[in-house]
Amino acid sequence: MTATNRTGAPPVRDHSAKRRWVGQSIRRVEDPKFLLGRGGYIADRVTPDTLHAAVLRSPHPHARIVRFETAAALALPGVHAVITGAEAAQLCDPMPDFGPDPARHTWRCLAAEKVRYVGEGVAVVVADSRYLAEDALELIEVEYEPLPAVTDPERALAPGSPLVHEALESNCAYERSFDFGDVERDFAEADVVIRDRLRWHRSGGQPLETVGAIAEYDPGTGSFTIDTNTLSFTSYLFMAAATLKVPVNRLDIRPVPAGGSFGSKLFANKPAVIAGMCARKTGRRVAYLEDRIDNISNCDHHGSDRVYDVELAMMRDGTMRGLSIDVIDDYGAYIQFGVGHHGNALAQVVGPYTIGSVRYRVRAALTNKNQQGAYRGFGSEVNNWMLEQMVDKAARELGLDPVAIRRMNFIRDFPYFIPTGNVYDSGDYERVLDHALDLGDYAHWRDEQRRLREQEGRYVGIGVITAQERSVFSATEFWFWFDEPGAPVTSTPESVSLKVDATGGITAVLYSCAFWGNSPETMVAQLVAEEFDCSPYDVSVVYHGSRDGLPATGPGGSRTTVMLAGAVEGAAVKIKDKARRAAAHLLEITPGDLEWADGGFRVRGDPERKKTLGEIAIMLHLFKHSFPEDVESGLDASKVFDHPYTTMPSADRKDLGVFYPFVGHACHVPVVEVDIETGAVTFLHYAAVHDCGTLVNPRSLAGHIVGGTAQGIGTALYEEFVYDEDGQLLSSSFMDYLIPTAMEVPELIIGHVETPSPYTPHGIKGGGEGGRMMAPAAINAAVNDALAPLGVRLTELPMTPERILAALRAAGHAG
């Protein structure tokens, strides 16, 4: 607790009001259209006159592009255009990014001079159909001059490595070491230092729907209209506009429902830019819909790929004192989000524990792989895994119980400022732990573990992890890395307009917010219903396009529900304020004598004298002359809800300020069996308890917990984008990139604890990423617990059968 930046906290809210809709597991309002097969996904919007684009991908991990031969492709009937990377560089400016030095690691929608990973686009064909476009791709000849490739992050940082970007003169895009608190003292005073080296390989969101965009360009107005399942934040629309070389107010990006994202459609501007470029070139409506290989190899959204050297300073009684982390992150060929993923880690770097100091050294390596983007957790899930591994190792080396060591180090007083300066707003970690041990039938499984080991020779393990679930990021985490940041932005708003029509029906307009498989419509409908006492099923929700939208940052970092709740609340206050004045006028009473109840305003002490919202709305819409001169017709309001709790980093960066303040918590308790002959891991039991503050729709959150855990199982056991030493991507289809099926995912026993945030509407914290932020750590812990009698510990994810067997062999067990 060394941070001093304690100012800037918002007022503590009163959450005592009874809630009618928030907290109910209502059926989702989104569902009927999807169940009927009328989802309106991007591919469903292809019209008969739409042309199709297909991208030619590089077969080389690293090569100079010497020459193109496109005449045969262009001559194919039905082909409208062939655009090479060199031509694309004329038609489009580079893709803007948040990397450390964009001018020296330039990223384009198609590679212009050299390719930097297998799968990188080098040309695009536009044709009457996808079939013809793919025919034409085969007729394009590209001459490459292959260059040596590097796919190992540590080799990439070593002298003499091939350079991914010559202009950078190094493959280290970023390096800095931060000290938070008195690290030297805590390590000097420690009884023991626990050390480990840990390796997390890259996986990714891989939604079942790939990224796609359909673009039209109107030369008469110079305007683009691009429908896409990705999202370009309204607030950052200038980035896509800059690439397309069009003014921001001539670009309308319209969100369409996405068949899953998990982060991987965040800011995925490239397909929209390619479709836009092709539409302007051909004068036609053009669809670019990635195929699966595009999405695996060229999506710009691979997840974290880290090598850790970690030290945890401990006292012999189990007290955790200090943490020193040295991490290399393999970003691939470009670095669009900078090292923001490590901001996520720093938001909750000490987990739920009273660790007093942290040293964090991060090096961003560039290699010949597809670049990192966002995947559910955005790097914080990796930190959770690393820290829980260290805690388990400490327990083992000190001979302490893994549950007891966690419990004794828990933070108990809130709000709590961690050494990096971020705040944990609230929590009750012991309650979560106790509930999870109860649901996990922990004592029973410890007995079973012993019995099965002794009587049947089976290796059963129990993982217990307690970890954080930060939510609602501030923009500062993308620039506090630099002493002189290029763009030290401080806004991360979200906006909602509420419109009450003449019949009292309510429409909520969301800006820069897409349906990504989360439930924004259900959340907003429940929140609006809570404000106005209507049925959530009577609320209509509209996704507004970007061009004339209000400021909005969109989904990401588990911010949607909290931020939409603030915007709905703010807009509702304005509407009720006007409605109160109107009702007071109609009832000939002063506004202060009215109270809101049952969907309208009534006179305090005389509840029969009242006006419903519908009665007020029809008067405001249609009977202007029944009101004083200054009352405008209609009943609508907008709210731009800014991030409720951001404080600035200190100049010396010893305190990063508050940048991820609403911090949930979870405990996962999986029980696994490891087959030491085959290396297979199966689940015998799995309990998960999450605390995301006040629940809006418990069933919906439970769905996120199970789904996120399923992805975490993939991360822990199966999923990996494997690049070989030569740079070839070995897992470029779902044949090799293994997503868990219903047979690999166990039934979860789910529990909820609710400690409301003191700072958010209703006390909500974000919870959309939690399952995946916990499961990899928990499953690794369980596998290690199972193999402890053999002296084997897995320190690398995913724990494929090969890796488990190799670890067994290394410890002298035949396997």
Binding site: R28, L35, P207, E209, G703, T741
Partner: protein, 166 residues
């Protein structure tokens, strides 16, 4: 030069169709683009994920790796045929009740596979449902609520059948 085409006749959701198709045209593209039935989605395009599942003569197939000409003479069922007379099929209704969907993208394939599962076994155990739907990937739900939905729909369908029995 116009591409070579073949004439196919088939029934889709009870409606007969006669169409000219290129021999290489995939069934999923034929359904989505030529017949205007976009409920069948494309996921991986190599027959792994099951997103494009439809029923061909009652059996589930992956419409992304079968050609439209191979469906000549067949009876095809897609998600668009499930709801009848404005009423959701019990499977659709239970998917909504149990939140057996999130993004909805795998849902049509999952629903068609579930139809086949319940036609073969009207009273499956949760374990049998899990094993059977392992043919289809879902990236959102972790399968738990899908399994619950199929089990409850099965109970409702059995009850309806018993009521209808003489």
């Amino acid at each position: 030069m116009a591409p070579e085409t073949r004439t196919i006749s088939l029934t889709v959701n009870g409606q007969p169709h006669v169409a000219q198709v290129e021999p290489r045209r995939l069934l999923v593209d034929f359904l989505r683009e030529d017949l205007g039935l976009p409920g069948t989605h494309i996921g991986c395009e190599h027959g792994v994920c099951g997103t494009c599942t439809v029923l061909l003569n009652g059996a589930s197939i992956r419409s992304c790796i079968i050609l439209a000409v191979q469906a000549d003479g067949a009876d095809i069922s897609t998600v668009e045929g499930l709801a009848q007379g404005g009423e959701m099929h019990p499977l659709q209704d239970e998917f909504s009740e149990k939140q057996g969907l999130q993004c909805g993208y795998c849902t049509p394939g999952m629903l068609m596979r579930a139809c086949e599962i319940l036609a073969e076994n009207p009273d499956p155990s949760p374990g049998q449902v899990r094993e059977a739907i392992a043919s289809n990937l879902c990236r959102c739900t972790g399968y738990q609520f899908i399994t619950e939905a199929v089990i409850s729909a099965a109970a409702r369908m059995r009850a309806t059948k018993e009521e209808a029995a003489p």
